[in-house]
Subunit: 232 residues, 2 copies
Amino acid sequence: MPPTRAVVLLSGGLDSSTCLAIALSKGRDVLALTVDYGQRHRKEISAAKAVAKRLGVKEHKILKVDLAQFGGSALTDERIGVPTGRTEKEIGRGIPPTYVPARNTVLLSLAIAYAEAAGADEVYIAANFLDYSGYPDCRPEFFAIFREVARLGTKRGVEGRPTRIHTPLIRTRKADIVRTGAKLGVPFGLTWSCYHGRAKACGVCDSCKLRLKGFREAGLEDPLPYETPPKG
Amino acid sequence: MPPTRAVVLLSGGLDSSTCLAIALSKGRDVLALTVDYGQRHRKEISAAKAVAKRLGVKEHKILKVDLAQFGGSALTDERIGVPTGRTEKEIGRGIPPTYVPARNTVLLSLAIAYAEAAGADEVYIAANFLDYSGYPDCRPEFFAIFREVARLGTKRGVEGRPTRIHTPLIRTRKADIVRTGAKLGVPFGLTWSCYHGRAKACGVCDSCKLRLKGFREAGLEDPLPYETPPKG
């Protein structure tokens, strides 16, 4: 029997790269999908390409969808600031300006479209509920309902074999994501999590802070260079 | 109170143009959204532009999303043939090759993203259940579940005011869509329904056949020029 085919959403960050490694470790025939939705910087896209190549993904599509045309997020609109220097408690409170309207809905839609066209049975997305509790589209109930969308809104669903949507990291703490990634050989130095796109990661945006905390708690060193050296 | 703002998905066809006219007739402040998803021909896009302009829409965004990269549909892949000369009974049977994997899921995702970013309370989509019963993502139960996506997957939803998704034509017969459009001043001659993109509409693809039948039953003449003259 041929291996199960899976579409893996790959942003180029720590979580999605680990999610990709998980799908590969399960023997999946992986099609990686990176959505270039008009992020303020291009580092994520090049990180995704480098990670996919290093992990030996056979097919990697980069799809442009200019969500920046809509605006409404610090990640697609330079006029909206990215918060920096927030404490963990602050990061966990409310919906941050880095929320991109309906982003995971758009990403999953494209992933199930790709899966259906390519005959893939599964979609993997690295959403995490613990660290980004402020993002509505990272909650388990959102994914539960999206599974219904795959069942009702596609040909595969009508045929009784809807694309299965996997969220293997949904309840995994960042430190455990780092540990899993390390075990599976994720090239952390090629990934990019910082909300800015400068030569080095800033170290102080929400995403850098969560990442650094994850490495610290896992007792591992983040190979990425940082502008602000991580605190012990 | 300012008028309710609504995003209207506009493909440039008969149904979506009528749907747009319906939203305008209700006094909505309309933002039209056309998704250029890699259709084989460009006539739909220019039809959408012409219709939006004629009906006086203030903001009309054309968003490119290259679903043709995925393939899997006669509408995005020239190697897959568009069926022609089918009877009504044949048209209503099974999922046709013109089905674009997860198209309405992708369209609605983008519409709720746009709505959230632009502060719109409503999304209108011209899906029709009667004529295209073969398309899974035109069924009422699909839209019911997508309303849950808007509720669970967006900031607006979390705030208790999810974007409302309207399908005003979901159970309307084509002849009644034509009658409604005529009453509301839809410029039928600017719309485009044919699956081909030639100078004149072919008159024999499923979409032309349904459209011509609608006009015939409504007792109105379709102002579009056809290669194959419609039968009385």
